[in-house]
């Protein structure tokens, strides 16, 4: 039921580094009923206009800390709380081009007592604000 929070409405934006657009980002929330340690957040699956983004090009930010998903698998202290907004950044030189794009994101959680991964998917038509 919380899939609408995977891509925060109206939060899609391009990100810059040293004056160059290096990718795009959006706000995201946990789709579970409680918080989880970051090691239990599996790599998100991001598909932009039908093309899967390699996991190496994803970054996860909580507050002022940023992780790759490989780093998150070893993160046993930091937690993603139920009410906490994280930012998912997709490294993509040039970022999102003008116009509409289709963005599909699957949030995958390793929830302890379920014998399978919890997968919640959403799809949105998104565009960078002019």
């Amino acid at each position: 039921m919380f899939d609408t929070y995977i891509i925060g409405e109206g939060t899609i934006r391009n990100v810059e580094s040293d004056g160059a657009v290096t990718g795009f980002a959006f706000d995201t929330r946990i789709t579970y009923y409680r918080g989880l340690g970051l090691s239990m957040v599996e790599p998100f699956e991001v598909v932009l206009d039908g093309v899967a983004i390699p996991v190496e090009n994803l970054r996860f930010t909580l507050g002022d800390r940023t992780w790759t998903f490989a780093e998150m698998a070893q993160e046993f202290d930091a937690r993603w709380e139920l009410t906490e907004t994280a930012v998912l950044t997709v490294l993509l030189p040039g970022g999102l081009t003008a116009g509409e794009h289709e963005l599909q994101v699957t949030e995958v959680l390793r929830v302890s007592y379920l014998p399978f991964l919890s997968r919640t998917q959403t799809r949105r038509r998104v565009a960078i604000a002019a």
Binding site: M1, Y33, G35, S39, L82, T83, V111, S112
Partner: protein, 331 residues
């Protein structure tokens, strides 16, 4: 028996940030749906399993201010923290002991444990629970129930360990009489046609273990071209809504340390179509259960944020419980 709420009932409102801990406790008091308060540690306390001295002071202040009573703390052992292996028994014990310490500091006399805590871990943690005067209540939640094989093993372990701190928390999800209408509406919206909803209900009411019944449904539906998302979503019908007999609660009657009054929704007469409240409440009264019933509205699994006011549904559940108890008293 005494009524109260688990703040988990307000999951939708946590997600939308309508309340923080204080304003939610204030709302519970104002609507008279306490005085018992249960929480899921990892939902309601951002620093859980640790809490600061300031948090403990503030928690005590809020309970006093709003005249509420801490009843049960829901613990969780995250056994899959690592990608390479599950937690060892000692790691699970350490995780649970940390949560017991926090429960004790917050004044909870019962800690909810789940089937993830195996018999060895329960035995290791028992001395700490005894020292803290905390009862460990294993939640009996669908697809498990008082008589299912996994729980029979726990009951045997309890008999062997023989501590007064070990008990159970019946969750009414284990003994349901129908699939909640809201869940069927949700499946219909995902493209499950009426004939397949009828088939789903027939399998749900049929014989065999829950996963067998789901397997039969899923195979037939897939062969007929039913959309896969609708089939996947139907898993929940077999894992979250149990078909154990209400009478099975008698088997563990003297080990009940807390109760989860699960509910999904109420009809115009104030009845819960999917759960036989009169039968269950009368049984609990028959066995002289005198503890707390936490109202646990879980309709958020098919009715997300903004659909209903969760606390209104909690009040409906408590009205029904009180009606059944009132009718009983007037006999």
């Amino acid at each position: 028996m005494k009524t109260g709420i688990t703040l988990y009932s307000a999951t939708n409102e946590w997600v939308t940030r309508r309340y923080d801990l204080e304003s939610l406790l204030a709302a519970v008091a104002e609507r008279g749906i306490g005085p018992g308060v249960e929480i899921v540690g990892f939902q309601s306390i951002p620093t859980f399993p640790d809490v600061s001295e300031d948090f403990v002071r503030d928690w005590d202040r809020l309970l006093t201010k709003y005249d509420l009573v801490p009843t049960c703390l829901g613990s969780n052992i995250d056994v899959a923290q690592r990608t390479d292996r599950l937690l060892s028994d000692d790691e699970m014990m350490a995780s649970l002991e940390r949560q017991l310490d926090t429960a004790h500091r917050l004044g909870f006399g019962v800690v909810r444990i789940q089937i993830g805590a195996n018999e060895r871990v329960i035995e290791k943690v028992t001395p700490t629970a005894e020292k803290r005067d905390i009862k460990l209540g294993m939640e009996l939640h669908a697809p498990e129930g008082a008589r299912t094989p996994a729980i029979l093993k726990v009951r045997a372990a309890y008999d062997r360990i023989g501590s007064p701190c070990l008990g159970f928390i019946p969750d009414f999800s284990a003994t349901m009489r129908a699939v909640p209408p809201g869940e069927l509406d949700q499946l219909a919206s995902l493209g499950l046609a009426q004939e397949w909803i009828d088939r789903l209900i027939a399998e749900w009411e049929g014989t065999g273990a829950p996963f067998e019944r789901f397997g039969r449904f899923a195979a037939a539906a897939a062969a007929d071209g039913v959309p896969q998302p609708a089939i996947d979503a139907a898993t929940m019908v077999f894992t979250m809504f149990g078909r154990e007999p209400v009478e099975s609660w008698r088997d563990i009657a003297d080990q009940i340390v807390h109760v989860h009054g699960k509910c999904y929704g109420f009809d115009e007469s104030g009845n819960e179509p999917s759960i036989d409240y009169p039968a269950i409440i009368n049984l609990l009264a028959d066995v002289d259960y005198r503890g707390w019933i936490s109202t646990e509205w879980e309709g958020h699994v098919f009715m997300g944020p903004g659909t209903v006011d969760s606390l209104d549904v909690v009040a409906q559940q408590q009205a029904l419980v009180n009606r059944v108890l009132g009718e009983r008293a007037s006999l």
